[in-house]
């Protein structure tokens, strides 16, 4: 790992000052993502600002149905909080399945939301857009050095390569990685907002707006401005909500598909639905067709299945990930059934 300066502020104001120095900087919380990226030379911050020592950045506050989560709250604390489990099982379930016990003891909510994509081309220095080329050589994004790989000028590392874990939606462009945050889908489904504090003050945006699809080499998928720190996430619980995740391994694995739903009910019928998918598109993907399909209906095996079918219409899988279409259909169905307390295997 390259050398860097280190600051350990105890207030948000000091953290923002430290992050806003003249050189590049990075906020460090659990470190499970950042430290590995630094070891792999994918990112080289001149300064690392450790934010876990800031008391006001951690903690879970529940006031009525309004939930405020500090960005440096550990995932294990999200899992163990009784009131949160009651109000937002979608969030708890998503946090429960992230990584391993050690990771959940270290990793934080903010770190999960702001982690960079778990995409092997990105993690090997080839960026988010399938590799930039000079002539017939691939360029490593950060270093500007040539990798000795001879490729066709039209080659795209993900589209033409091993894309088994890549996106199945929004695959017309060059960004084909699958968005990795497990906590973004439930929080977006619940309509959560994120507070960002930076050199120009504080702003609050919907969690969905933390992400964008990068268009040019080196552009991040995160919309945080330089020196900005995610400080808290807030949402009003109330609707019925649930998360269902499909993984290859029982544990310590990334989701292949994750679906979070939040439903507002009018009696037995769904009056408003949010269906958000993770790991299937370069950003958390809102399945609007599934939302329309379930709205106005009682959630049953049949209507949930129809919503699952609606969710995957328009999917454009790549050469190796067609299986994700089937998984998505099932994940949507099971998440909807879970939200109304129905066990999918008893339908």
């Amino acid at each position: 790992m390259r050398a860097f300066e280190y600051a350990s502020p105890t207030s948000i104001a000091d953290a923002v000052k430290a992050l806003g120095g003249s050189g590049s900087s990075a906020a460090l919380a659990g470190g499970t993502d950042l430290i590995s990226r630094m070891k792999d030379d994918i990112v080289r911050p001149a300064r690392v600002v450790y934010v876990k020592g800031i008391p006001e950045l951690s903690g879970i506050r529940v006031e009525g149905s309004v939930v405020t989560l500090g960005a440096a709250t550990r995932l294990v604390d999200l899992v163990q909080h009784a009131a949160l489990a009651e109000l937002a099982p979608a969030v708890r379930q998503a946090a429960l399945e992230v990584g391993s016990p050690q990771i959940r003891n270290m990793a934080t909510l903010g770190g999960n939301l702001c982690q960079r994509p778990c995409d092997w081309y990105f993690r090997n220095g080839f960026g988010l857009l399938g590799g930039r080329k000079q002539g017939r050589n691939l360029v490593r994004e950060l270093e500007g050095e040539y990798a000795p790989i001879d490729v066709e000028e039209t080659a795209h590392l993900v589209r033409d390569g091993d894309n088994r874990y890549a996106a199945i939606f929004m695959t017309d462009g060059d960004a084909l990685y699958a968005h990795s945050s497990s906590l973004a889908p439930p929080l977006i489904a619940l309509g959560a907002t994120a507070t960002l504090v930076g050199p120009d003050g504080e702003r609050t945006v919907p969690v969905a707006e933390l992400y964008r699809i990068p268009q040019s080499a080196g552009e991040s998928e995160l919309t945080l401005r330089p020196g900005e720190l995610l400080t808290q996430v807030r949402f009003t619980a109330g609707p019925r909500n649930a998360t269902y995740e499909v993984r290859q391994k029982q544990s310590h694995d990334w989701p292949l598909v994750l679906c979070s739903v939040a439903l507002t009910m009018d009696g037995d019928r769904v009056s408003k639905a949010s269906v958000v998918l993770g790991s299937v598109a370069p950003i958390p993907y809102r399945a609007e067709a599934a939302e329309r399909a379930i709205t106005g209906h009682v959630v049953s095996t049949e209507t949930a299945e129809a919503a699952g079918q609606a969710a995957v219409e328009g999917a454009k899988p790549l050469s190796m990930n067609g299986y994700k279409v089937t998984l998505t259909r099932t994940a949507v169905k099971r998440a909807l059934l879970a939200a109304v307390g129905q066990r999918y295997w008893e339908g």
Partner: protein, 208 residues
């Protein structure tokens, strides 16, 4: 309890040999002048915010109940600091990316990966490694249940197991599975490991 300091053992050790042969090379690096020149603009910038550390920094870590002063850089991981600076070599460096669990240590009661934790951020926190464990409980249970083959993953498993039993002295098989999720054994001794964890819980209950 065995000594925590391998230098206290009699006879030559592999680590002492390696350390000795590295002295000549290391001296040249250490005596080179390390000049840290801050220009005026930078100094003004630093004055506004919190203190910024860079280069060699002296910190104190609470390791197995002892305050240990050590010189690190901000980039030194807790794992490398324990192993290379403090001779606490129980936690192992295997994947070095927070995936395998061999580096597991207990920080303030919770198992964590020491390879993706910076030593500077551990000041003021209690660090426990398997050097401090009662050898008659978890390590003995691993021995009794044949819970290892090559042994590389064993310190991590023992540590994760101890952390689990500290919080849940009466775990079910499912609790043990979940508690040891973050450790990998490529020899595939999982059956023995799960048995050992349940056996250690039994031994703890007997002792209590």
């Amino acid at each position: 309890m065995p000594s925590q300091d391998p230098r206290g053992r009699s006879g030559p050790s592999r680590r002492d040999f390696l350390r000795g042969s590295g002295v000549a090379a290391a001296t040249a690096v250490l005596t080179a002048p390390a000049v840290d020149a801050l220009d005026e603009a930078r100094a003004a910038e630093l004055a506004q915010g919190p203190p910024v550390l860079s280069g060699d920094t002296t910190i104190t870590l609470q390791v197995n109940g002892q305050a240990r002063e050590v010189v690190v850089e901000p980039r030194s991981t807790l794992l490398d600091t324990l192993r290379n600076r403090l001779d606490v070599t129980g936690p192992k460096r295997v994947c070095d990316r927070g995936s395998c669990g061999a580096c597991t240590v207990i920080l303030d009661g919770d198992p964590i990966y020491a390879c993706t934790t910076l030593a500077v951020s551990c000041q003021g926190h209690a660090i426990e490694t398997l050097e401090s464990f009662d050898p008659e409980i978890v390590p003995a249970a691993f021995h009794r249940n044949d819970a290892l083959m090559c042994g590389y993953c064993t310190p991590g498993f023992v540590t994760a197991c101890k952390a689990l039993l500290d919080k849940n002295p009466n775990p079910t098989l499912e609790d043990v599975r979940r508690g040891l999720d973050g450790n990998i054994c490529r020899c595939g001794t999982y059956v023995g490991v799960l048995q050992a964890a349940l056996d250690a819980a039994k031994a703890l209950r007997k002792e209590a």
